[in-house]
C-alpha cells in the first residue's frame, strides 16, 4: 500500500512520518505538497504536526484553505483512512472533517511531555488491530491542545463511540493529572462518523522506535496496514488507488513536493 504525507509550509514532523512509514514499516510513501490537487492514488493519508502558516488566525485555519484540501476531503468522503497528528488534527477540525476544536492548553504552558492514552474505540483503521482499553505511551508537544466541543456534541461523540483516545495514567486510569491540557472529557483523539478520519494530539510517529523510548505509536500505523490489507478485495477506493499507483513515480512526486 502507499501512504501519503501532506506537507504544508510550517509542517515539522513530516520527515518523521515519512521515516516511520518507509524505514520502520517498510511501506511505500509519497510526499504531497499543499498546492497539489491530487493525492496520486494513496491508500492512507497522514497530516503531520507542525505550526502551519505560523498558526496565523487559528492553529490549522489557514491550512484548511490550502489547494490540497479538496482532494483530502474527497478522499475522506470515499472512506480513505486519514490520520491527523497534532497540527494535522487542528487542520482537520478547521476543515470540519472532524468535530470540535483545539484551544490553548489549560495552564497556559506549551506542553512537551510523555503522555499515555487509552484506546476508547477500535472502530477506526488506526485502532482496529488494538485491544480496546490498550494504553499507549506517546509524547505531546503543543500549545493549543485542549479539546473543546459543545457539551451536547461531546455527549454525542461518546454515545457514538467516536472518542478514540483519552488521556490516562500508565495504568489506563483517567485522572485529572493525566490530562495535560484541559481537554474536555480528557479527549486526546476523535473520529468522524464513518470512523476513517482520526485526529489526535499525541505524536505516534515520535513513539515508533525503541530508540525513542516507546514503540506504542507504531501500532496505529501497523493497524492501518492490517486494516487495509483485510479490506482490499471489497474496497473500491483501494482498487482504484492500486491501479493508479503504477503510473506514479515516487521520485517525481517527491521532487514536485519540494
Amino acid at each position: 500500500m502507499t501512504w501519503g504525507v501532506v506537507i504544508f509550509p510550517g509542517s515539522n514532523c513530516d520527515r518523521d512520518c515519512v521515516h516511520v512509514v518507509e524505514a520502520v514499516l517498510g511501506q511505500r510513501v509519497v510526499e504531497i505538497w499543499h498546492e497539489d490537487r491530487t493525492l496520486d492514488g494513496v491508500d492512507a493519508l497522514i497530516l503531520p504536526g507542525g505550526f502551519t502558516y505560523g498558526d496565523y488566525l487559528r492553529s490549522g485555519a489557514i491550512a484548511a484553505t490550502a489547494p490540497v484540501m479538496g482532494a483530502i476531503r474527497e478522499f475522506a468522503d470515499r472512506g480513505g483512512p486519514v490520520l491527523g497528528i497534532c497540527n494535522g488534527f487542528q487542520i482537520l477540525t478547521e476543515a470540519h472533517l472532524l468535530p470540535g476544536t483545539l484551544v490553548r492548553n489549560a495552564g497556559l504552558r506549551f506542553r512537551c511531555v510523555r503522555t499515555w492514552v487509552r484506546v476508547e474505540s477500535t472502530a477506526t483503521p488506526f485502532t482496529a488491530m488494538l485491544p480496546a482499553g490498550a494504553v499507549l505511551q506517546m509524547p505531546i508537544a503543543h500549545g493549543d491542545g485542549g479539546y473543546l466541543a459543545r457539551p451536547d456534541e461531546i455527549a454525542a461523540l461518546e454515545a457514538a463511540g467516536r472518542v478514540v483516545f483519552r488521556y490516562s495514567d500508565p495504568d489506563g486510569r483517567v485522572t485529572p493529572t493525566a490530562n495535560p491540557n484541559g481537554s474536555m472529557a480528557a479527549i486526546a483523539g476523535v473520529a468522524n462518523a464513518a470512523g476513517n478520519v482520526v485526529g489526535l494530539m499525541p505524536h505516534p510517529e515520535r513513539a515508533s522506535e525503541a530508540l525513542m523510548g516507546s514503540v506504542d505509536g507504531l501500532r496505529l500505523f501497523e493497524s492501518a496496514v492490517a486494516f487495509l490489507a483485510n479490506r482490499v478485495p471489497t474496497a473500491p477506493i483501494a482498487a482504484a488507488a492500486s491501479a493508479s499507483v503504477a503510473s506514479v513515480s515516487v521520485a517525481s512526486v517527491a521532487g514536485g513536493a519540494r
Binding site: 484553505t65 476544536t101 484551544v103
Partner: protein, 93 residues
C-alpha cells in the same frame, strides 16, 4: 471601496491565555483590574460587491463560531490602521 473592522473575541468560558497573562502583568504593576480579554482586530477593504459577504467570511473563516464571537463595523478609510512607521522603516515590513 468599503472598509470593515472585524473584532473577534473568545466567548466567555473559553480560556483566554493572553488575557490572563496581561491581567497578571497589570496587577504586578499595581493596577487594579477586574478582567482583561484579548481578541483580534482584522481590517478588510473589499469591493462593494463583497459587502453582503462580510458576515459569511467571519462565520466560515475569520472566526471559529464554536469558541469566538465577532462584531463588524464599517469604518472610514481614515480610521483604518494607516499610521506610517517612522522614516527609514520602509521596506522592513
Amino acid at each position: 471601496m468599503p472598509t470593515f473592522r472585524i473584532t473577534i473575541m473568545l466567548k466567555s468560558g473559553v480560556l483566554d491565555a493572553p488575557g490572563q497573562a496581561i491581567e497578571r502583568g497589570l496587577r504586578a504593576l499595581a493596577y487594579g483590574v477586574d478582567r482583561v480579554r484579548v481578541g483580534k482586530i482584522i481590517e478588510l477593504t473589499v469591493p462593494e460587491s463583497m459587502r453582503p459577504k462580510i458576515g459569511e467570511m467571519c462565520e466560515r473563516f475569520l472566526a471559529n463560531p464554536l469558541i469566538e464571537t465577532w462584531g463588524i463595523d464599517e469604518i472610514s478609510p481614515l480610521e483604518a490602521a494607516t499610521a506610517a512607521a517612522p522614516d527609514g522603516w520602509e521596506g522592513v515590513s
